[in-house]
């Protein structure tokens, strides 16, 4: 999935300083974990979707997240309903109470189901939130943002290079898969789980050896260009916090306060 791929654009989110975005991302993530009020978590989700729309990010990707996660959500809600004891029962026990030991199991409580919905809502919020930053920030600005916030530039660069490598590895994996298919290998399409597990080396070995070689060569290339030679480095494309960034942060602070107040008062 293209969680990390930058999408060209000129929206407010695109223009914001990466630091502002990283700060907001972090705070909002914490708030999503704190909030328990359905209205408020709903409001957060709505905000995220609106931002997604305003930044003209691909709605298809968004839809694919929802589709991908639906099964998981149903599972979470049912499981929570089953094991969370509550007063109000939505679904009566499958097994009558008089059966010894397992009697009364299989009921779904309202409280449990609601808690399941809350967890699901948090997951979807978090998953839709991250791309709002990664898809609107070119990767080198993201690294620069982290560096200016105190991370060493070597670590920031290593992180972003790793992110950059994901699509390369995906591509590599499909080449390896094709190569094995061309030798009549069908396990990945029609094999059982055990067969797939056994066949794993045919995919993993070339991929890992390739990645190691790649990393080694990249190391030589980066060393040759003095990467990490000095503690400090300069940047041709610098980032500066503009009044606009501070304004957005101020609005964001008010928003967070409102959400928290709403959460504890309602």
């Amino acid at each position: 999935m293209s969680v990390v791929q930058y999408v060209e654009g000129n929206s407010l989110l695109h223009r914001l300083d990466p630091r502002a975005k990283i700060i907001m991302l972090t705070i909002l993530t914490i708030i999503i974990f704190i909030v328990e009020n359905f209205l408020m978590i709903g409001a957060i989700l709505l905000t995220i979707l609106l931002l997604w729309w305003s930044a003209r990010l691909p709605m298809k990707t968004l839809a694919s997240y929802f589709k991908f996660l639906t099964g998981l959500f149903v599972f979470i809600i049912v499981i929570q309903g089953l094991f969370y004891s509550g007063e109000v029962i939505l679904v009566q026990p499958l097994i009558p109470r008089w059966v010894p030991l397992i009697g009364g199991l299989g009921k779904i409580s309202l409280d449990g189901a609601l808690f399941g919905i809350l967890i699901s809502a948090r997951i979807i919020c978090l998953i839709c939130l991250l791309p709002l930053v990664t898809m609107t920030t070119p990767i080198h600005f993201f690294a620069l943002g982290l560096t200016k916030m105190g991370l060493s530039y070597q670590i920031a660069y290593t992180m972003t290079t790793a992110l950059n490598t994901i699509p390369v590895l995906q591509n590599e994996a499909s080449v390896v898969m094709d190569a094995q298919k061309l030798r009549a290998f069908r396990v990945f399409e029609e094999g059982s789980f055990v067969q797939k597990l056994k066949a794993y080396p045919a995919l993993a070995v070339p991929l890992v050896i390739g990645a190691m070689r790649r990393a080694q060569l990249m190391g030589v290339a980066m060393d040759s260009r003095a990467f990490g030679a000095l503690k400090r480095r300069t940047y041709v494309e610098d980032i500066i916090m503009k009044p606009q960034d501070y304004a957005v942060l101020a609005v964001f602070a008010v928003y967070c306060a409102a959400v928290l107040v709403g959460n504890f008062m309602l």
């Binding site: 080198h140 060393d223 260009r225 003095a226 990467f227 030679a229 480095r233 041709v236």
Partner: protein, 301 residues
């Protein structure tokens, strides 16, 4: 051919001095380079030849100090580039003496814009951004990629990617450029583009070039000297004309001759001895023309 045709580099000044160099990688027993000694003068273009596994890549990495500074392993002997001993100089200094271009375009481009790619090296040296901008403009002009500043490197053709890699090395203002098989993955025109840029570096900027390659025809045309490696040893260091005439050596090292040289040998084996050996197409063609004209003259009379 053997004399640098370049601008006016001071002659006789050794730019690269390798003395009794031995090297083995960490955790291996065998030395991959054994007792290598040679010097390269300022402004010379040296082609590194030899079969795969002969030690070309290792030697390239010794020249810019990646070996041993970041690769480890065991070194005996000395490598001095532009007056700096690679074993005593930090990579940040060496990177400003020796630029490096690798074989695979993909593994040496790691940023999202052409401009940032060229800036990457100088930024690591903490050079002032205004100065870096000047260098970007200059380096992209040298490799003929002006106007590509904002494009992503992934959108470039193979030849363009390798030229970008050259620009990225140039931005560190090195005096020596080391290229490890930079054209092996390129189509014929991409190859010519890269060679013509390297030709400019040598002639217009007086740079010293060391390039590992299998492409004999381009070597004959552009290189001043060939350094032939065989199983980790230096077996010949001479102008291409001399190297390509050494047929024993060609056989030993599995080197292929320029096609025009093969033609001369074919004719020689079939009873037509031309007055000289040829390594360039045009000189070979001229010699054959002369022979044909001589025959035409004989028939007419």
């Amino acid at each position: 051919m053997s004399e640098p045709v370049s601008g006016k580099p001071t002659k006789g000044e050794p730019m690269i001095k390798v003395e009794n160099l031995w090297y083995k990688y960490p955790r291996t027993k065998k030395y991959v380079l054994e007792d290598i000694s040679f010097t390269v003068e300022k402004g010379e273009f040296v082609a590194l030849m030899g079969a795969n596994g002969a030690g070309k890549t290792t030697l390239c990495q010794c020249l810019n100090g990646v070996i041993p500074n970041s690769q480890g392993g065991k070194v005996k002997g000395r490598v001095v580039v532009g007056g700096l001993d690679t074993q005593e100089t930090p990579i940040s200094k060496l990177a400003q003496k020796v630029g490096m271009v690798l074989e695979d375009p993909e593994t040496q481009l790691f940023t999202t814009k052409v401009k940032n790619e060229v800036a990457f090296g100088p930024e690591n040296l903490a050079i002032d951004p205004d100065e870096i901008m000047k260098r970007i403009a200059w380096a992209l002009k040298v490799v003929r990629l002006e106007g590509y500043e904002e494009r992503p490197p992934t959108a470039l053709s193979g030849g363009q990617k390798q030229r970008l890699a050259i620009a990225a090395a140039l931005a560190m203002k090195p005096e020596i450029m080391v290229l490890d098989e930079p054209t092996s993955q390129l189509d014929p025109i991409g190859t010519l583009e890269v060679f013509s840029v390297i030709q400019d570096l040598k002639e217009e900027y007086g740079m010293t070039i060391v390039m590992a390659t299998h492409k004999s025809e381009e070597i004959a045309q552009f290189a001043d000297k060939v350094l032939m490696l065989h199983e980790g040893r230096l077996v010949k260091f001479a102008p291409p004309r001399e190297v390509f005439q050494d047929l024993e050596l060609m056989k030993l090292t599995w080197t292929h001759l320029p096609q025009i040289s093969e033609l001369i040998l074919f004719l020689r084996n079939n009873g037509i001895s031309l007055k000289d050996f040829a390594i360039l197409k045009d000189e070979g063609v001229a010699m054959v023309k002369e022979a044909l004209a001589g025959k035409a003259g004989r028939v007419a009379s």
